[in-house]
């Protein structure tokens, strides 16, 4: 056996290299790895495979470091990702790279596949390697799909629900398959642990295995050169590797660009950059009981999502065709490509099929985006009339004909616009849902960042107990059928307030609200008692008559009462001098003024005639009136239509729990955590 010269003539490094080479043969291995002939010289079109390997290695590196900080369970997944994103040094960058490199990988995969098919690199003897490539592609897509769920946010949760429900319609084994994927009959801890094991264990391990064979076979066959070869051969190292490395750097630069451009924009606009906002977004924590109308898969799966809509009206068959049969057939044809390629027109067919497939995917993706974002570029003024008429006639032909004055031609022209209007409506609903989702996400991140940190029950507990998040929902569900909640300074306040049949509760408890109540022009208006049974009540006549008598009620008195009422409610610090407030309290209590009807503090007025104004607008007072407005402390027998939300008949269930009433009261009073 030949051994290296180990005489001291050589340097220590050289000698150590020789020592290792004698025992491992590493030089031959390295030579084998790098000194590969590139027929016709290095070319840019050969870089896709190498950039894919680079992208995968990036995912391995960033993924392992993310793993070191991630915790897969229902109460810790979102929380640990939030911590990575918002608290850990450079966590946003690490997550951002992992998130966007996953998307880059899908694009690179498409380019690699396109190049291989167009160049005919799948033909004999490279068939097996082409098949291996297709398997690798499915593994990458599988990793993308499983990775989407891991942050356990609303976005990932609802998108995955759709995907796993589709698994359930696979013939024969569907339900069992679904149960295995979910790790039980429902979504929970084990869905996460399984997806994580797939995403970071099974799938990448399998991928590495296939990748090794893929590369070994690639070396065995040599590079499939694009014909005709006009230039002299080059070497893989350094000719092709130089181009590869430049491409890798370019990919990385694009990824960094995507992550950092928003920051640069903010800085140019003179704002402060919050690094937690950069890179991959994190939605609100997953909540199975909270609808998520913005549910969409990641953009590279949008085409499949849209494809399902093609089968509208086909029922279960359509679902089966769209989600399983057609994608299965497409994959089948792709697997057959190397064999089809042997026929005379086979290669042309393969190229046409692949291009057609890519065009179809691009078209479906475009359609999906257009449906969701149409409202951004649709000219609403053109559809204004059709929108109004659809609202009025509900799409009924006869009503429409009557509405346009019997003009049949115009009616049919309008009717033709109805689908456009529907599309616009859906798009607006989606955009609103997406905005709401972003607001929820920001709020959840804000709550998680409280000094008290996230409770052991997880961030969902925080969101569910947050007046700012839950108040508007509870109000919409239980109060908004009568009450309005409209900022009087907003542009369409008038119309929105007029629609309601009970007072506008925006700013309830503030001096401004009381000022409106004591304004003769407003008290019988829709923002106060105008649309209620108290429209002609004692309070309205008091404001309209008694209060206008300037001999008794000096303007300063009224202002003192307003200040005292606001002080009772205790929403925020008051600038009014304490003496004025004390004067106002005296006026309220006095049996010649408000106290004639209202109980206040320890005045002697009986309950039951009018609301007790003690602590008016305070949390306790609001909880009380929402719980039972017919209590003698509030409206008693003269209660108009307001239900008792916290009271139920014996053994029954109240419409709202004590916690929910508390949330509503806090929200109405504007009391919630602010950073």
């Amino acid at each position: 056996m030949k051994t290296h010269d180990s005489s001291p003539r050589h340097g220590i490094i050289k000698r150590f290299g020789n020592f290792l080479d004698d025992r491992t043969g590493w030089r031959a291995l390295l030579h084998e790895a790098l000194f590969e002939r590139v027929p016709g010289g290095a070319r840019w079109r050969y870089v896709w495979g190498s950039t894919l390997v680079f992208a995968f290695m990036t995912q391995v590196v960033t993924g392992l470091f993310l793993w070191a900080s991630y915790s897969a369970s229902g109460q810790t997944a979102w929380e640990s990702v939030w911590y990575i994103q918002h608290e850990m040094a450079g966590g946003w960058l690490l997550r951002g790279i992992h998130h966007f490199m996953a998307q880059a990988m899908v694009i690179l995969l498409a380019l690699h596949l396109l190049q291989v098919v167009i160049d005919g690199a799948y033909k004999a003897p490279r068939e097996v390697n082409f098949w291996l490539g297709l398997v690798l592609m499915m593994l990458v897509l599988g990793m993308a799909l499983t990775g989407y769920l891991l942050p356990w946010d609303q976005k990932g949760y609802w998108a995955t629900r759709v995907a796993t429900n589709l698994a359930g319609i696979v013939p024969f084994v569907g339900p069992q398959l679904q149960q295995l994927i979910l790790g039980g009959p429902d979504y929970g801890h084990h869905t996460l642990t399984r997806f994580f094991a797939l995403h970071a264990g099974f799938l990448p391990a399998t991928l590495v295995l296939f990748l090794v064979v893929h590369l070994a076979l690639f070396r065995r066959h040599g590079l499939h050169a694009k014909q005709p070869i006009t230039k002299p051969d080059g070497m893989f190292w350094p000719d092709q590797l130089l181009k590869d490395a430049v491409a890798m750097l370019a990919v990385m630069a694009v990824i960094l660009g995507v992550i950092l451009v928003p920051a640069v924009r903010t800085m140019l606009a003179g704002g402060d950059v919050a690094t937690g906002e950069l890179g991959a977004e994190l939605g609100a924590p997953a909540d199975p009981s909270q609808p998520y109308a913005a549910a969409r898969p990641e953009w590279y799966f949008l085409f499949l999502f849209q494809f399902l809509k093609v089968f509208e009206g086909w029922g279960a068959t359509g679902e089966f065709l769209g989600a399983i049969v057609v994608p299965g057939l497409v994959m089948g044809v792709m697997f057959l490509m190397p064999i089809l390629g042997n026929w005379k027109l086979g290669h042309r067919f393969n190229v046409a099929f692949t291009l057609g497939l890519f065009a179809g995917v691009a078209m479906l993706t475009g359609l999906a985006l257009d449906e969701d974002y149409a409202a951004l570029w649709t000219d609403k003024s053109k559809l204004a009339e059709a929108t109004r008429l659809l609202e009025e006639t509900d799409g009924d032909e006869e009503k429409l004909l009557a509405a346009v004055g019997g003009d049949a031609k115009k009616a049919s022209a309008i009717a033709r616009q109805f689908p456009e209007v529907e599309k616009l409506r859906r798009s607006e609903a989606f955009l609103a849902a997406a905005r709401a989702a972003r607001a929820d996400a920001e709020r959840a991140a804000e709550l998680a960042g409280r000094p008290e940190r996230i409770p052991p029950g997880g961030a969902l507990e925080l969101v569910r107990n947050d007046p700012l998040s839950q108040g508007p929902r509870l109000f919409a569900q239980h109060c908004a059928s009568c009450h309005s909640y409209v900022d009087p300074s907003s542009s369409d306040a008038g119309a929105n307030v007029a629609k309601a049949s009970a007072p506008n509760l925006h700013g309830f408890g503030t001096a401004a609200w009381v000022t409106g109540l004591l304004d003769p022009a407003q008290v019988a208006g829709p923002a106060y008692f105008g649309n209620t049974a108290h429209k002609d009540g004692d309070m309205v006549s008091f404001v309209k008559d008694d209060l206008q008598d300037a001999d008794i009620w000096k303007p300063a008195d009224i202002e003192a009462v307003i200040a005292a009422m606001a002080a009772e409610a205790g929403r925020g610090e008051s600038k009014t001098p304490p003496a004025t407030i004390a004067h106002g309290r005296d006026l309220i209590a006095s049996d010649e003024r408000c106290g004639a009807c209202h109980r206040f503090g320890d005045n002697d007025t009986d309950l039951g005639t009018a609301c007790d104004l003690t602590g008016w607008g305070s949390r306790e007072w609001l909880v009380g009136i929402i719980t039972n407005p017919a209590h003698e402390r509030f409206y008693g027998d003269s209660n108009d239509r307001m239900p008792s939300f916290g009271k139920a008949v014996e053994g029954g269930i109240p419409p709202l729990t004590d916690e929910q009433i508390g949330l509503l009261a806090d929200w109405l009073r504007g009391t919630w955590y602010r950073p």
């Binding site: 609802w158 319609i169 039980g184 429902d186 801890h189 009981s289 999502f305 509208e312 359509g318």
Partner: protein
């Protein structure tokens, strides 16, 4: 790897004209050869099978877990459902077990309840879309239901509005109104994406 090195060293010895390697394995009879191979495969296979079997067994455990049988759960009071024929959404709150975590009271889903004018009967529809399991919304104006995921539309009584990607109407739930006005719903989940209403996830 070892085999290749071995061959290479054999070749070099032969080339250098040294005497043949006396340690080279003798040419065996095929019977002994077969036995050795079979035993090797059996032993190795068996040894590998043990950890794989243990892993697969645990991995398949979820198949043994079934969702709780549909039971009547109290939802709300009759007074909370106005008799105007418009569905109202209510949360289903119940205890829930997620593997090792037990939640004493958690919203586990939602139903739409509605009541016709003057009627004491309540109709209940689950808010989970029979198409792919998304959360069905009530359209603004409460004229119909719509699922935000794939635009399946349903009438207020849960019927399909064609064309729809959904294979079946919204899933109705059994509903019971107690003497004290307590509304209870027989809560259950149904398989998505198929034409029949079958219990399951």
């Amino acid at each position: 790897m070892r085999g290749r090195n071995l061959t290479r060293s054999l070749v070099t010895t032969r080339e250098k004209g040294m005497k043949p390697d006396t340690h080279a394995p003798a040419k065996d009879d095929s019977r002994r050869d077969f036995l050795a191979k079979a035993t090797a495969i059996a032993c190795g296979g068996l040894a590998t099978l043990v950890p794989v079997a243990a892993g697969v067994c645990t991995f398949l455990d979820p198949l043994r877990r079934t969702s709780a049988a549909a039971t009547f759960l109290p939802v709300t009071d009759l007074s909370a459902i106005p008799d105007d024929g418009v569905p109202r959404q209510f949360a289903i709150v119940a205890e829930r077990v997620d593997a090792w975590t037990g939640f004493p009271r958690e919203p586990i889903g939602a139903v739409y309840l509605r009541r016709q004018k003057g009627s004491q009967e309540v109709e209940a529809l689950t808010a989970t879309c029979p198409h792919a399991g998304c959360f069905i919304d009530l359209e603004p104006g409460s004229r119909s239901f719509r699922c935000p995921c794939h635009n399946s539309s349903f009438t207020l009584d849960g019927g399909i509005v064609e064309p729809s990607p959904s294979p079946r109407p919204m899933d109705s739930l059994e509903c019971r109104v107690g003497e004290n006005g307590q509304v209870a719903v027989k809560w259950g989940t149904f398989r998505a994406g198929i034409a029949e209403k079958v219990a399951g996830t």
